[in-house]
Amino acid sequence: MTSKLKRSLIYWAILSPLMVVILFPFGVMFVTAVRPREELFIYPPTWGFSEFRWENFSEMWVKTNFGGALLNSLYVSVSATVVALVLSIPAAYAMSRYRFAGKGAYRTFLLMTQMMSPIVLVLGLFRLMMTLGLVNNLNSLVLTYAAFNMAFTIWMLQSYFNSIPRDLEEAAWMDGASHLTSLVKIFLPLAVPAMVVTAIFSFINSWNEFVLALTMMRSSEDFTLPVQIYAQVAGRYQVEWHHVMAATVLATVPVAIVFSWLQRYLIRGMALGAVK
């Protein structure tokens, strides 16, 4: 056995308990989602089940108003991402390209706001939304998610923008382009990968957010997915676990796959910022 193979086996052996701990809930979730209802509470619990009951998903869709909650989540996540990006791109460009007083302090401020959890601010935000008359309105979530995401998106975009050489815009100016033309025709096309990655991170953060959604949205037709799924469990006498798990599978698995694919770009973005 080669030493490389031996080493790989040792590393896998060391990592496997961790993998089991992490994947176990997902395994239970999936198995519960696809097993027949009658086999939910078999004791002792087993991994095996008689058949894949895919109808759990279609039943769940209707019973839990999954479609409505999905649309709400989509609206909130997409809008928050768009608002965050529209405001972050000029901010990140200014941070990357211009020198101005207080730039360092602003950057520190962005870093500090990233450390704040929405839970800490939820009371204040609720009162703010009340004053604005936006409670139980999905736009309250759009605004708050956009605000929370911006600290991260500005930070990440600035790191990427720093890696785009200034020469390119200067060359465009020498070629006769105005600042706006060079921004649109030269800079932004090169920044697209960064913007896509940042947008997807912002989308995922907004999609998964729970506390603010639970606080701001009062009526069930306006719930986002995390809250809708929670509502299937909280305060119920009888919980349809197979539906709950089916909903959770649909709500989390696609996002988990996209995130695992994206995490190397996140690392790269952070490293760029650190080195430069």
Partner: protein
């Protein structure tokens, strides 16, 4: 008319002054090289001509037009950057036609101009490629092609060859010079390499610490450098400097070194007897002396380059280098007598560095 006039130009970044008052007249069709060590302000000056840096005080005129407040895009200047600055998301053709497309020129006119420039620069085969598919030399030529299609009044080059390997640099140097001879466009070229300056320039501007040290043709700078800095900067290997004291007397003017060696000089120039001076002689001008003139040295290191032999020795505990084109069989430790022809000697004041 596309001359460039720089009058009393100063530049400061906050409290730090980078250019201390530059006066320079670049004539129409001239190829002027700004040369100097890193940090001397040559790139800053070039960028101020381009409009990429603001002017703290002074004036810059292109032709008869004062351009202090004219933005870069309106100055009708083309620039070749050190890192090429090719647009990575565009093909070579699109890179070269970008400026023409911005000016909304007709498609057939654009096509003709791009293909003509590509022909001149041997890029016709690469028009559909993207910059990352090209070698360094090819990218540099695309950068030049981008400048070429514009028919600009002035071309600016910001150390365009410094990212290329030595052999390619020699080839591109000749190409740029040939291009200038063909197009006759006023060009300002920045480099820290004095060989590039000597081989390419109509006139060289030697800069140091934000000031102009000397302006002249390559041979003027080579034959009559006005101070120690220029004498040291131009020529490779650099000029030998031997510190000593100037003496007059019956035997004629001479520089006396610390070990008593007398080196004859043609005259005292503006110097006075007893003055601390620097005796300068280029390595390629030293010869072997058979007579009583000159100085005895011990051979230190011998470097045969094939075209010549470079000998490093010490005289009065100061380093000295001699270059011989004839083949000699020197070995370390061997005593030889070096002669210094009177008409090739330079004399400088030791304190100010000025020519005597």
């Amino acid at each position: 008319m596309s001359s460039v006039t720089i009058r009393g130009v100063k530049k400061r970044y906050g409290a730090m002054a980078v250019l201390h008052g530059i006066d320079l007249e670049i004539r129409d069709r001239e190829f002027v090289v700004l040369v100097g060590p890193s940090g001397c302000g040559k790139s800053t000056l070039l960028r101020m001509i381009a409009g990429l840096e603001t002017i703290s005080s002074g004036d810059i005129l292109i032709g008869d037009q004062l351009v202090n407040d004219v933005p870069a895009k309106a100055r009708d200047i083309a620039m070749v950057f050190q890192n090429y600055a090719l647009y990575p998301h565009m093909s070579v053709y699109e890179n070269m036609s970008f400026s023409l497309r911005l000016r909304r020129q007709a498609r057939d006119v654009i096509d003709r101009k791009v293909r003509e420039a590509a022909e001149i620069l041997n890029l016709s085969k690469y028009l559909d490629r993207s910059p990352r598919q090209l070698s360094g030399g090819q990218r540099q030529r695309v950068a030049m092609g981008r400048a070429l299609v514009r028919d600009a009044q002035v071309f600016l080059f910001d150390e365009p060859l410094s990212n290329l390997d030595a052999k390619l640099r020699v080839v591109m140097r000749t190409e740029i010079k040939a291009l200038h001879q063909r197009l006759q466009t006023t060009s300002v070229y920045v480099t820290h390499d004095q060989i590039e300056a000597m081989t390419m320039a109509d006139r060289i501007v030697v800069m140091n610490a934000g000031r102009i040290e000397q302006i002249g043709t390559p041979l003027e700078l080579y034959d009559t450098p006005v101070n120690l800095f220029v004498a040291d900067f131009i020529g490779s290997p650099s000029m030998n400097f031997l510190r000593g004291t100037l003496e007059g007397g019956a035997g004629g003017a001479a520089v006396v070194l610390s070990d008593g060696t007398r080196l004859s000089v043609p005259s005292m120039g503006r110097g006075k007897a007893g003055q601390a001076v620097v005796f300068g002689i280029r390595p390629e001008h030293t010869a072997l002396s058979s007579g009583p003139e000159g100085a005895q040295v011990e051979v230190g290191v011998v470097e045969p380059t094939g075209a010549n032999i470079q000998v490093y020795a010490r005289l009065a505990d100061q380093p000295v280098c001699a270059i011989f084109t004839e083949r000699h069989d020197f070995h370390p430790g061997q005593p030889i007598r070096l002669g210094f022809p009177l008409d090739k000697i330079h004399l400088f004041d030791a304190e100010s560095g000025g020519r005597l």
